[in-house]
Symmetry: C3
Subunit: 134 residues, 3 copies
């Protein structure tokens, strides 16, 4: 990422849509590989855990796509980072916040990305998330 | 919002998906509380009023989420603003435009937000909107 | 587009959702009018051509909406550009990339738009795309 590109405010965008039923929350191996303990505890405490896991899954995928629009992230190990390296926490205001760990964090830092924001929505059978890397 | 943050081009993003059938357009109290007279007149003039109201509802929710990613908005009365304070009008080019009123406008101004853009789409049973606060 | 607006990092956003079944891939005239030869070859080589065409269609519409949020684009011939002028190619990393041609390219250049990024997602019966013009 050149200084010129950073000054131009270059951004990466990612979107993800998921059928809620596509997430199998009875598969503990799947949940443990892709969600942090904090995320699992949160989703399991919600009125509809499957919808919560689907929303977080959408958010992780959207963030992954937003990061992957930076060549520097893709060329590093960032593109092979496990989804648990992209953590979605709940801020004090109730909005979702992205916390990067491990290779995803290192790759984003190396690419000059200052932050990633995400928004999640559910309705009917679907979850949708949009992420912005900036 | 610090000068440094503004120069970094920090943005807030919001997404919302809605089942068209989730909007009850026979509930006049609901419509009057959440939509301006201009919005109601416009939606009722469209070929499919329910889809139009659902799209505008999605847009308002997406804008609300985009604004709520700024701490300064949440800590002010902005987060408690009624959805009718987030008006979606039709520009001369046919694209949706956001006009903020009341507490939503004051909170956005105080947070250093210069503008909010939104896009709306419908297909099948759903409406989706994405908003960007900048 | 004034210098001030460019420095403020003003962005345009577009979203589009499509029912996969809304795209008739047996209509060759429709495909040839809206998709480049490269796009058609790519989509037809995929496991689910209809879903691929629907995803690209969503992406083109999302880009069109993102560009149309700039007055300068709408006032020029950019708003009347055929969708085949908005080409979605696959980058070396597998992510979608936008290449503008003809009137769409000229209009974006004249409006000071430096680039357009897009993200596409499929699930169940729908495709969703989000585009960012910057």
């Amino acid at each position: 990422e050149s200084i010129a590109k950073q000054q131009a405010g270059n951004k990466g965008v990612g979107v993800d849509v998921e059928l809620t039923t596509a997430i199998n929350i009875d598969n503990e191996t799947f949940l443990e590989r892709n969600f942090t303990l904090t995320e699992r505890t949160y989703c399991l405490s919600r009125p509809d855990p499957q919808a919560s896991f689907a929303g977080r899954w959408s958010a992780k995928e959207a963030v992954f796509k937003a990061l992957s629009s930076y060549d520097d992230v893709v060329q590093s190990k960032g593109a092979a980072a496990p989804l648990s390296d992209i953590e979605v926490v709940v801020s004090t205001t109730g909005a979702p916040e992205v916390v990067l760990h491990g290779d995803a964090k290192a790759a984003a830092y190396a690419a000059g990305i200052k932050g990633v924001t995400v928004s999640i929505s559910h309705s009917g059978a679907y979850s949708v998330a949009v992420a912005l890397a900036q």
